[in-house]
């Protein structure tokens, strides 16, 4: 009888340890969900200045849902996997949703090379210090935030996003 009690204790503690080890902080729900998206202003990377101006301020684009994507050229392979998916999403929804990329803790030349490689046409800001990422409680690139037309964060996706997930989350923030 007592042997079984000891066995059960070991089993419970072992199970707890195993469960704890399996948990990924990236899967934690963002504390920003339901709250206003933190505002920021970034200088745009050169290819987008002709169309969008020198600087981009999030609060100036209220009224339209925003897909905010954090990425870096050194983030391989996740950022490379999702770049074409994001571009396709932008081309499909550009009339109704704004896509904005935040290049995080990167070198400008590397960022531009990445943009050229995937022919990314939605605007990208340059954040070499990763200040905006901290404001959004980002764990690591890539992360994608879905912000509704009222400027509230509705969902945070950690890791490379799939086409199906992107479309599903966009439809949730569409008015």
């Amino acid at each position: 009888m007592r042997k079984w009690v000891y066995f059960a204790i070991v089993l419970v503690l072992g199970g707890l340890f195993w469960w704890g080890m399996q948990r990924d902080p990236g899967k934690l729900k963002s504390v920003l969900v339901g709250k206003p998206a933190p505002d920021f202003e970034l200088s745009l990377l050169p290819p987008y200045r002709a169309e969008w101006g020198e600087r981009f301020r999030l609060s100036e684009h209220r009224g339209k849902p925003v897909v905010l994507n954090f990425w870096a050229s050194w983030c391989y392979p996740a950022c490379y996997e999702e770049a074409p998916i994001l571009e396709a999403g932008w081309r499909k929804f550009r009339d109704r949703v704004l896509f904005f990329g935040v290049n995080t803790q990167d070198r400008e030349a590397d960022a531009l090379e990445f943009i050229a490689q995937f022919n990314l046409t939605f605007p990208h800001g340059y954040d070499p210090r990763g200040k905006v990422g901290i404001d959004y409680g980002m764990y690591g690139v890539p992360e994608t935030f879905f912000i509704d037309a009222e400027g509230r964060v509705r969902y945070r996706h950690a890791g490379a996003i799939t086409a199906a997930e992107l479309e599903k989350r966009i439809r949730e923030v569409l008015p």
Partner: protein
């Protein structure tokens, strides 16, 4: 006495601070606050120890906020508002978190109880094995008789 040496050795080994000396470019107060915050992209490293870009930026922001006259509590709250309580190395002492803080004590009590029961059981068995004076004398007589 010899068995104490490893204990003494480990006592000193654990007394070392993992961060060592802070680099001179930021005040030590920055590192003290950063050591209570997690590096978001690392596993089991604080924002004081880690050299990841995000940790460097966190230290820079802490230094900035200190210059603005913010208290350590206000700075920690700034990060909690963005990352949740997960970012704190020491979970706040309230609600279910008390279980976490008391777990070592509970473990020690459970171990102590088990150990006490074991000793009591061992003592009882030893007493059972012990011979009474009469039994001893009877055995001695048998040996002498043989």
């Amino acid at each position: 006495m010899r068995f104490l040496w490893p204990l003494i050795f480990f006592a000193f080994a654990f007394a070392q601070t993992p961060t060592g000396e802070p680099p001179p470019d930021l005040p030590p107060e920055v590192f003290r606050i950063a050591s209570e915050l997690r590096c978001p992209v690392c596993q089991g490293e604080s924002a004081a120890e880690s050299n990841a870009g995000v940790s460097q930026e966190m230290r820079r922001q802490i230094a900035e906020m200190l210059r603005e006259g913010k208290s350590a509590e206000e700075i920690k709250r700034y990060f909690v508002e963005r990352y949740g309580e997960w970012i704190l190395y020491a979970p706040p002492k309230r609600g279910i978190n008390w279980l976490l803080w008391l777990a070592p004590l509970i473990g020690l009590l459970v171990f102590g109880f088990g150990f006490w029961r074991y000793l009591a059981e061992a003592g009882r068995r030893e007493a059972e094995l012990e011979l009474s004076d009469e039994e001893l004398k009877a055995l001695e007589r048998r040996l002498e008789g043989e």
